[in-house]
């Protein structure tokens, strides 16, 4: 919340996830509300909801296919229906991350498994999976006139995005678990190193990349030529490379290694990210003005489209901001109707 004071227009997460949207308030359990909802559904391409427990959307029991045969209805649940976890409660992301295969891969061996200090880091994964699937279903509906149901569970969406560890296990009997600063089964050089002012990460794993890294750091290649040798003498290798990384700043290491075409990067702290040269040059973060939250910096849209101008982030709506625009402008209600509906508590 802005200044840590709660309020409907002050939530950082809502300000971000509400960008680009309009807002209508509606009690669809009321007969007039149900009528509005039905008219909206008749015009919609997509109904997206995340209650997933069978609770009627906005209080209304609806049969979307009858109202609009080309409607796509996307439902995001925590767990799939039809299994023993169907009714499991998950108050935080941790339960989904635990069963979804993420937690077992993060942390030091033997110590408590982790996710991260971001609460959206795993929560947004099912979100973008839903976006793609629903969009594809809408594309089909536009072409064929046929809507469909799109269902997914956050649990499975996380599992799908864990580097296919189960397939790996089935093939190779190799169990990926947490490896602290390094990456299970890749290369001892694929890891976090200490710099003089923080940390850097290195993703060198092929023979060629590792050779370059050793050369760049002035470490003799002899005895480290093969992947097997590197794993056998992993501790020594990491220590020798660390002697080099510890003598330099994160920025020095990042740019010097990249000149050698070694995949290395500095570990940014959150306050540094906005000012990264590359992001500034591309104008990634955007300033957005909001009537309550004021002028703030938001992450931008992570895809650039060559047709037309750069997409800009449009601020989140105020609660019910577009009620009149939608009811009068699109659904044929009069201002008097809206006034009555407001008095009745429908909108």
């Amino acid at each position: 919340f802005l200044d840590d004071i709660s309020g409907a227009e002050r939530s950082g997460l809502f300000l971000y996830t509400g960008t680009g949207k309009r807002s209508l308030t509606l009690d669809a359990s009321h007969p007039d509300g149900r009528e509005i909802f039905t008219r909206l559904l008749a015009r919609a391409d997509l109904l997206i909801e995340d209650r997933g427990d069978g609770t009627p959307v906005l209080g209304a029991e609806t049969k979307p296919p009858k109202i609009n045969p080309r409607l796509v209805r996307a439902t995001l649940r925590k767990w799939s229906r039809g299994g023993p976890y169907e009714d499991y409660v998950a108050a935080t992301e941790l339960q989904i991350g635990a069963l979804g295969g993420w937690a077992i891969q993060v942390g030091e061996p033997g110590r408590t498994p982790l996710l991260s200090s971001s609460r959206t880091m795993s929560a947004f994964v099912p979100g973008i999976v839903t976006a793609s699937a629903a969009f594809a279903a809408v594309m089909r509906a536009r072409k064929t006139g046929e809507g469909s149901n799109v269902d997914l569970a956050a649990h499975e969406a996380l599992l799908f995005n864990t580097r296919f560890n189960e397939t790996y296990y089935a093939y190779a009997n190799f169990e990926v678990r947490r490896h602290g600063r390094s990456f299970a089964g890749w290369s001892p050089t694929y890891r976090v190193f200490e710099a003089s002012d923080g940390y850097v990460s290195c993703a060198a794993s092929t023979d060629a990349q590792v050779e370059l890294f050793l050369q760049c750091a002035g470490v003799d290649l002899e005895g480290f030529e093969t992947r097997e040798q590197r794993y056998e003498r992993a501790e020594e290798l990491v220590e020798r490379l660390s002697a080099w990384t510890r003598s330099k700043t994160r920025d020095e290491i990042f740019h010097e290694a990249q000149q050698w075409r070694i995949p290395m990067g500095k570990v940014s702290t959150i306050d540094e990210v906005e000012a990264l040269d590359q992001l500034v040059d591309r104008g990634f973060f955007q300033e957005v003005e909001h009537p309550v939250a004021g002028r703030q910096t938001y992450p931008g849209i992570p895809a650039w489209f060559s047709n037309g101008p750069r997409f800009t982030v449009a601020r989140a709506p105020i609660l019910g901001e577009h009620t009149i625009e939608i009811l009068c402008g699109e659904l044929g209600y009069s201002r008097e109707d809206v006034s009555a509906l407001t008095g009745l508590g429908v909108v």
Partner: protein, 413 residues
């Protein structure tokens, strides 16, 4: 996917990508029904083939045994084509005429070096969508820098959030920047494909791993914007809940994730714990007291959980509506009752590797996951289909191309 046409029925995509972040969006198009043709150079196979294989697999060769390559290239056809040769480029251009999407994740200068820049592709097929996935983007001072998952993770700030309180940075074992980039690229490609359908105009999409990673930790950036707070590593701490975290369970490396917020949840937990005396202490009487004393509380809960079976305990707690879940290892996932009930893993036969489980694209369209028809292609597996059926070459022309090193099924080193 029910008996309706698949969402991308009739779409053809050419996939020039390697490793994970690029192949994943192409696989998603394939899951949605597009015909995706993965293109490798016979002189340089996708390096991802070198990872995730058993040691000394039989039958050889090892590059056909990469579990990761075979999973992330599911549902694709596969051909070999040397784009550094004139003949290879010409064949690519012929395929381009019959395609809707091209995906690539070379360094930004490479496609241009091949003479296949977006401007060239657009001349040949104005409706084509070119999706370029890279570490840092097609423009800017770092455009030629190289990146893999851990690098996007580091620069985006994700690494700074990963670890135990007051300790150093750890890696996300998931390699999160790769799936973030892949999912972002998939959605962007679909959007552009939609526009191309409506307008007949394709476009060039630029997705960078660094930028694609940032929206996923938007909560942290918004907190920084609104409150100038720089979040860092805090083990599993929740800003309001206690006890909260992954607690040790009986056995080796077994854990259970438990999260308590409300008074009712706490009372239910205390009941399942058998009402130990310590739980009645004033220091744990209210949510705020528990939060203030969370370290001591977490230790006491951990002492109790460490003798319990994680699955049994999770079921017992869930029966009382307490948020609890066992921490699953990959091998356990294959026997997980929920995933078995939904048939989440699909078993697919593939040459060399036999029948193996692959995770479904995690969405059910009208009740059914997209079917996995095939695992990743063997080297040049669909050369015959693509070059003869699609492009109309005959057997002797194919043989000549093979001899010239333009195509092949045996890697040339």
């Amino acid at each position: 996917m029910s008996n309706k046409a698949a969402p991308l029925d009739g779409v053809r995509a050419l996939d020039l990508t390697t490793f994970w972040a690029g192949p994943q969006p192409a696989a998603i198009l394939a899951d949605f029904g597009a015909e995706v043709i993965k293109i490798e150079a016979i002189q340089r196979l996708d390096p991802f083939r070198a990872y995730g294989a058993p040691t000394n697999p039989t039958p050889e060769p090892a590059y056909e045994w990469s579990s990761l390559f075979n999973a992330v290239n599911r549902n694709k056809r596969g051909i070999t084509l040397n784009l550094t040769s004139d003949e290879g480029r010409n064949l690519f251009k012929k395929l381009l005429v019959k395609s809707h999407v091209v995906l690539e994740n070379y360094s930004p200068r490479v496609l241009t070096q091949f003479g296949l820049s977006y401007e060239v592709l657009r001349e040949i097929n104005p409706a084509v969508v070119l999706t370029s996935v890279s570490g840092f983007g097609q423009t800017g001072p770092w455009r030629d820098y190289v990146s893999f998952a851990a690098i996007g993770e580091a620069l985006s700030g994700i690494s700074s959030l990963t670890g135990y309180t007051d300790e150093g940075v750890l890696l996300q074992g998931v390699g999160v920047s790769d799936p973030y980039t892949g999912l972002t690229a998939a959605f962007a490609t679909l959007s552009a494909l939609y526009v191309a359908r409506e307008t007949g105009k394709g476009q060039h999409i630029d997705v960078s791993q660094l930028e694609a990673s940032l929206p996923f930790i938007a909560d942290v950036f918004m907190d920084f914007s609104l409150n100038q707070r720089t979040r860092i590593r805090r083990t599993n701490e929740d800003p309001a809940r206690a006890p909260h975290g992954c607690f040790p369970a009986k056995g080796d490396d077994n854990w259970i994730a438990i999260s308590i917020g409300t008074q009712t949840e706490w009372q239910n937990l205390v009941e399942v714990m058998g009402k130990p005396d310590w739980a009645a202490a004033e220091t744990f009487a209210t949510p705020l007291n528990r939060y203030r004393n969370r370290k001591a509380l977490n230790d006491l809960v951990a002492q109790w959980t460490s003798s319990q079976d994680k699955d049994h305990l999770a079921r017992e707690l869930q029966a009382k509506k307490v948020s609890a879940a066992p921490v699953r290892t990959p091998s356990e996932q294959l026997g997980d009752p929920q995933l078995e009930a939904t048939s989440f893993f699909q078993f697919v036969e593939r040459r060399y590797c036999g029948r193996q489980p692959y995770p479904s694209f995690p969405v059910r369209f009208d009740g059914t996951y997209p079917r996995i028809h095939r695992a990743g292609p063997t080297v040049g597996e669909d050369n015959h289909y693509v070059f003869t059926e699609l492009l109309g070459l005959n057997a002797s022309e194919l043989e000549r191309l093979r001899k010239a090193g333009v195509i092949g099924t045996e890697p040339i080193r």
